[in-house]
């Protein structure tokens, strides 16, 4: 990815080379796990409360079960990563099932991202608001804040902060992920030490009831549309609905597919280690801590802590109040760090996904318009930030409500991803890793493990569809809107593409190892016209009008700029002649047809356009090079650059004339290389008078020619320039220059003119 563009200020020649390189660095499995856990582990701050509100006291077992199930989902991701280095849900589903379902899957992923921000920010706000209240109480202060209202203001502020960061394109350091996870681990370790001590000091505690159908107390709200129906009495359905309410704990797994490309060699082995670290960490911090919270926080007060379960857990530890408050502050700092990070990741993620689909023509280019100052895709970011803020306001700071809605995107993107990987089992045979439990029947492989995981995810997704009213209404509405937007965008883009193509000419590329008059069927002395911008073809128009094809052929060339060193490699046709060149030459052909004159078309791949133009003019032995006026530099500067390129050519240099055409004033002509001067009329008179005087009065004789007079004059000038007369001569030259300044503006004939 390199470009080389030389630019110069008007007086000094400088060279500017821009080169862009991708500095690919590979990361260890610890770093990769930290990046994934920054997303995945953030759920531990809110999943316990959300699940218990939905299914009752056995909730921690269900969360633990979901975290154990994450090992199966890990295998799905590993299988997909083995096939696609960057195997996000969109790529996998598009490749396996097709673009329609891929659009659906990406819609659900966007729902996931849009809700990750609000739920994380609101949860962080809840922790912070409730900490302030705890601090006020410990310090015997009377003021209190409403946690929900505080959470709304806090999360709106956090969203606006990260929205602006993303608009500016200021990236948060990727290594912060590791640091945050180190701090989080300290927090988890302290909890895992302090909680058993508390239990021992209290003389033990009862484990929450097991998640059997009889223990699962699903409210009408948790059953949604299933409430009062026959299905609500089926144990299997009740368990599926319960899993559906807990599956949120796994949100963030998609990041595993995103970091795979950066995982160091041996990639798949390291991915397996990364995924195992992630799952084990998630089991401990999300699963075990949720369990400890139910064991330690008394049933009578636990509902107070649904929105800040870890905060509640700490405040119920055994120990001095100030120590607990200090640790509570630490937990809130960790929570705000990890949850606020998730808000940022959601904006970056959704921007990345939508840009990716836009590249496939599934999103209108309107959304990708870069910001004038910062260059970021601000319209996508604005839309997503507005949606996130509206979601926060609509939730009124209720984490449970957001959790209910959030589940839709999470479960459907998992289910579609698993289905994609399952389908690929039958379409492709290059899986570097296969999920376990495969049996062979009649020579055909039956992927039991993958099938069961996919089926479970789909059943949970379907159960969610009927039990989570908010999620279904929000998710389905949003998905339909997004899907329709993708569909409309795709059609509009396809139409544009079609319209675009219909008026373009088709070209065959004729590769030439050397450009010569013979290979191009252009006679020496041809007129070479350089074109670049099809909006500025005035010079071509003028050249077509003026050129007499009986005397001169016309060659129209464009320079395909290459990066330094690109010429060492074989270039593909699309690298030499892309859509732009097709459009450009289509305009050339239209103009030539209109004028009724034939032209030869030439693409010259080169690093420096000036070198390319001069080289081509020399190779073709052109009599004239015609260029349009440049918007980037003055005509004199342009002529100077072309002149310098001519000087750089190896001898013998072919002389030709340069015409710089202006749309609204006469052309500027410059002769490149040694050429007979075109004398001013008064100088011609002076020369003739001197010649007359020398031949007739001075008796030199009739053998003397005008050229001999000029030769002697030039020799004398050269001598005097090295003498004491130098200053006087320079003054005379200056005055001659000023005298003829007005005439310099007028067009001068050149050898190539007709």
């Amino acid at each position: 990815m390199q470009t080389s563009v030389p630019t110069t200020p008007s007086t000094v020649t400088t060279k500017v080379v821009v080169a862009t390189t991708v500095a690919l660095t590979f990361i260890t499995f610890w770093q990769a796990a930290a990046v994934v856990l920054n997303d995945l582990a953030s759920t531990m701050f809110y999943i316990g409360g959300i699940t218990e509100q939905a299914i009752g006291k056995p909730a921690p077992w269900m969360v633990l079960g979901v975290m154990l199930f994450s090992y199966a989902v890990r295998s799905v991701y590993m299988e997909s990563c083995g096939m696609f280095v960057r195997g996000g849900v969109y790529i996998v589903v598009k490749d396996s099932i097709g673009p329609t379902v891929a659009k659906l899957s990406v819609s659900s992923l966007v729902v996931d991202y849009v809700l990750t921000g609000p739920i994380s920010a609101v949860s962080a706000g809840q922790y912070l608001g409730r900490l302030l209240n705890d601090m006020a109480e410990t310090l015997h202060q009377s003021w209190r804040t409403d946690p929900n209202t505080f959470a709304v203001f806090f999360s709106v502020a956090v969203t606006i902060y990260f929205w602006y960061s993303n608009i500016k394109g200021v990236p948060e350091s990727s290594h912060k992920a590791l640091r945050i996870m180190q701090i989080t681990t300290v927090m988890v370790v302290i909890i895992l030490v302090w909680a058993p001590i508390t239990l021992i000091l209290r003389g033990g505690a009862k484990l929450p009831p097991l998640p059997t159908p009889s223990n699962l107390h699903l409210t009408n709200e948790s059953l949604g549309w299933l409430s009062g129906t026959y299905f609500a009495k089926i144990s299997f359905v009740v368990i599926l609905v319960s899993i559906g309410h807990s599956l949120l704990a796994m949100s963030g797994f998609e990041t595993l597919a995103q970091v795979y490309r950066e995982v160091a060699y041996p990639k798949l082995k390291n991915l397996r280690i990364t995924a195992n670290i992630v799952c084990t960490y998630a089991v401990i911090c999300t699963g075990i801590i949720s369990l400890l919270a139910v064991m330690i926080i008394p049933d009578s007060t636990r509902s107070m802590y649904y929105d800040n379960m870890i905060g509640g857990l700490v405040m119920n530890f055994a120990g001095p109040e100030m120590l607990k408050l200090g640790f509570h502050v630490f937990i809130v700092i960790v929570g705000v760090l990890i949850l606020a990070g998730a808000v940022n990741t959601s904006l970056i993620g959704v921007n990345g996904v939508l840009n990716r689909v836009a590249e496939d023509g599934v999103l209108l280019d309107w959304f990708r318009k870069p910001h004038k100052k910062f260059g970021t895709t601000y319209r996508i970011l604005n839309t997503m930030a507005i949606l996130q803020i509206l979601t926060i306001l609509a939730s009124r700071g209720d984490v449970f409500l957001l959790g209910e809605a959030y589940a839709f995107g999470v479960v459907w993107s998992f289910a579609l991803k698993a289905l994609g990987v399952f389908v690929l089992r039958y379409q492709r045979h290059d899986q570097e890793y296969k999920m376990g439990w495969n049996i062979r029947i009649a020579g055909r492989e039956i992927p039991i493990g993958l099938g069961l995981t996919t089926a479970t995810l789909f059943l949970v997704a379907i159960a969610n569809l009927f039990s989570k009213k908010i999620a279904t209404i929000y998710g389905v509405t949003f998905t339909i809107i997004l899907y329709s937007l993708f569909l409309i965008s795709e059609r509009v883009n396809a139409r544009k593409k079609l319209e675009h193509r219909s008026d373009l000419e088709k070209f065959n590329l004729d590769h030439q190892s050397q450009v010569t008059p013979a290979t191009l069927r252009a006679r020496p002395g041809c007129v070479l016209v350089a074109v670049r911008d099809y909006h500025a073809m005035h010079h071509l128009q003028k050249a077509l009008e003026k050129t007499n094809l009986r005397r001169h052929d016309i060659v129209v060339m464009t320079v395909r700029q290459l990066s330094t060193g690109a010429g060492e490699y074989e270039l593909r046709d699309d690298q030499l002649f892309a859509g732009y060149e097709q459009e450009l030459f289509s305009h050339v052909v239209t103009l030539a047809e209109k004028e009724g004159k034939s032209v030869e078309l030439l693409v010259v791949p080169a690093v420096d356009p000036f070198d390319a133009m001069v080289h081509t003019a020399t190779s073709l032995r052109a009599s004239k090079l015609v260029v349009g006026v440049s918007s980037r530099m003055q005509s004199e500067e342009l002529a100077h650059r072309i002149g310098l390129a001519w000087e750089r050519q190896p001898p013998p240099r072919h002389p030709f004339s340069l015409e710089i055409t202006h749309p609204d004033r006469p052309s500027t002509y410059v002769n490149l290389g040694p050429h007979p001067p075109r004398l001013w009329p008064e100088d011609v008179d002076l020369l003739h008078n001197i010649w007359l005087r020398l031949t007739e009065e001075e008796g030199v004789g009739c053998k003397l020619h005008h050229r001999d007079v000029v030769g002697v004059a030039l020799q004398r000038l050269e001598e005097e320039l090295s003498s004491t007369e130098r200053r006087r001569i320079l003054e005379q030259v200056e005055s001659a220059l000023h005298r003829h300044e007005a005439e310099m503006e007028t067009p001068q004939p050149t050898p190539g003119d007709d």
Binding site: M1, T7, T8, P9, T14, V16, V17, V18, A19, T20, T21, V22, A23, L24, T25, V35, R86, N166, G169, V170, P171, E172, S173, S174, H175, A177, T255, Q258, V259, R261, E262, I348, G352, P370, G375, T376, K506, F507, N508, L509, D510, H511, Q512, Q514, L520, G567, L571, L576, F577, F585, L601, L602, V603, V604, A606, V607, D608, D611, H615, T616
Partner: protein, 147 residues
């Protein structure tokens, strides 16, 4: 019917001899970059050196390394406009990377003269940390403030 387009073999740029001495400018953000480039150009002009601008564009993990938040062309155009004003030979190198400090440390030659462009803040910014890391590596570092 298709029209024929002649395609010539690539034409190489003529070799231009570059000055030996190099003044490196490191940017972590584009706004305010012009000032440190001016300082570097002044320094390079006096020393008969060339300027190399290193821009490490950090891409956050959810995005692919080739899909930066700010399109490369945008950054290139801004830098080109800035560098085109300078009176000395200027090379611009943009690195799409995950880690700013590591990338810059890897690309600099030993004992380089480096100008780090940054903002004046009372707390240590990433530019301060980068400058400190480069000094530890033995480079001669000048911290230039945009304001």
């Amino acid at each position: 019917m298709k029209l024929a387009v002649h395609v010539s073999a690539p034409i190489s740029a003529p070799e231009v001899q570059s000055p030996e001495l190099e003044v490196n400018v490191v940017y972590t953000r584009l706004p305010g970059a012009a000032k440190s480039l001016d300082i570097a150009s002044g320094l390079a002009r006096g020393l008969g050196a060339r300027v190399t601008v290193h821009v490490a564009q950090v891409i956050p993990y959810p995005l692919g390394l080739k899909s930066p938040q700010v399109p490369v062309q945008f950054a290139e155009q801004q830098l080109l406009a800035m560098a085109g004003e300078q009176p000395v030979e200027t090379s611009i190198r943009i690195y799409l990377c995950r880690d700013l400090t590591e990338t810059i440390r890897q690309i600099l030659k030993p004992d380089s003269v480096v100008i780090v462009g940054g903002r004046k803040c009372w707390w240590p910014t990433r530019e301060h940390r980068l400058a400190a890391a480069l000094r530890r590596d033995g480079h001669r570092v000048i911290l230039s403030y945009a304001d």
